[in-house]
Amino acid sequence: MLEGCPGSKTMDLREKEGQEDTASVKVISQLRQWPIQMHLISPMAPYFQGADVVLVADCVAYAHGNFHNDYLKGKAIGIACPKLDSEQEIYIEKIKGWIEDAKINTLTVLIMQVPCCSGLVKLAQEAAQSANRKVPIKYIVLSLQGEILQEEWL
């Protein structure tokens, strides 16, 4: 078992097996755009114009079982990993582009509870501080089992 960084510590979550909803329901994807990775997106793409945007840590959609309906529906998205991605200064410029040029309505940052994930909120804050236009920014922290631990406006 690896110790040390909580972000990479081995956790066995199989105890949840048996608690799953066994009803087989086809969940329709709420994704309305491509691409979604922050290095690949263009902040000026039409689906970002005036949108409510979610900036999501890569692991979130796997942890939260109903991610599409709860957070993606009706929103535009960018995904990133604040721990592993390189050249994150580009992300700051792109978020600033969302705020200033695409004139997004709101930005919601979804992260995991592991400490390194908070870097994504810091990126969003840095971009917002350097932007001339202001938008409401919310952050949501999810547990490793996908439960909402914290939800607050900055």
Binding site: D52, T108, V135, P136, I137
Partner: protein
């Protein structure tokens, strides 16, 4: 025995049936007895006051003892939307702006007793201070701040909601007091000025407390992310048109605060 059946009951009905519950709620700073609205359900009352889970459980237990004396009662947990930790209030950015405006209005309210202390409206300086204070109330508190609530925020919830109707009524009562103050200034009636401005002060203090601690947190929990962004933009538009004026009025409120703080220090400090 279960409390579940009472969770969806009107709090005023519960209090009229079990008056002791009103006193218990008062102990938790939940003023349902004196509230003139009275349409909240018990579950709403518990939810909007954002008690800690321990306090909520204790409150429900005490109410259950009144409703089912001598019986073991299962205490339900009131479902809450995820938000800030219980006991804390964190507003969305547009609602926070309204709370910030309240801070300036409260500076004026805090100055009112000092203004009235030795009021003689026949004196030019006293008369002008009352007129300037009324100008602040009418322009900043009413035309700017209350208009943002009435024209924008409240419309997102519908003016038919009882608590919003109550807030609108209080705005109107406040306008009545202010009109009467101006009439009393014209008539040179010191007593009427004191009475009406004091009444305005008491009304607004209570009104702001209700909005900051109950109405706004409840609204924030129920606004969608889209609505928060929309509200933010709509408020910004109003703010742009009122930028110079808001600086002037906020400066006036700050100056009053400094003036009367200094005066208080002179009186009370050695």
């Amino acid at each position: 025995m279960e409390m579940e059946g009472y969770i969806n009951k009107n709090i005023k009905d519960i209090i009229s049936q079990y008056p002791e519950i009103g006193s218990i709620l008062n102990e938790y700073d939940i003023a349902c007895v004196s509230c003139n609205v009275g349409t909240c359900l018990l579950k709403d009352v518990v939810e909007v006051h954002n008690l800690t889970y321990e306090a909520e459980h204790e409150l429900m237990k005490r109410m259950a003892k009144v409703i089912f004396p001598g019986n073991e009662v299962k205490i339900p947990k009131v479902k809450r939307k995820i938000g800030p930790a219980a006991g804390q209030i964190k507003y969305s950015p547009p609602v926070r702006k309204l709370v910030d405006e309240h801070a300036f209005i409260k500076k004026l309210l805090a100055a009112i007793p000092h203004i009235l202390e030795s009021l003689n409206v026949a004196k030019v300086e006293d008369r002008q201070l009352i007129i300037d204070s009324v100008d602040f109330i009418r322009s900043y508190a009413d035309k700017y701040h209350h208009a943002k609530e009435e024209e924008i925020l409240f419309k997102k919830f519908g003016e038919g909601i009882e608590i919003i109707k109550a807030m609108l009524d209080e705005h109107d009562i406040g306008r009545g007091h202010v009109k009467a103050v101006l009439e009393a200034v014209e008539a040179g009636d010191n007593q009427a000025i004191k009475e009406r401005l004091t009444a305005y002060c008491e009304l607004l203090k209570d009104h702001i407390k209700k909005e900051d601690e109950i109405l706004y947190p409840w609204m924030d929990k129920n606004l969608t992310v889209f609505q928060v962004g929309e509200l933010f933009n709509q408020f910004n538009e109003v703010d742009k048109g009122f930028e110079a004026a808001s600086r002037k009025y906020e400066g006036f409120a700050k100056a009053l605060e400094e003036r009367f703080n200094r005066a208080s220090q002179k009186i009370f400090c050695p």
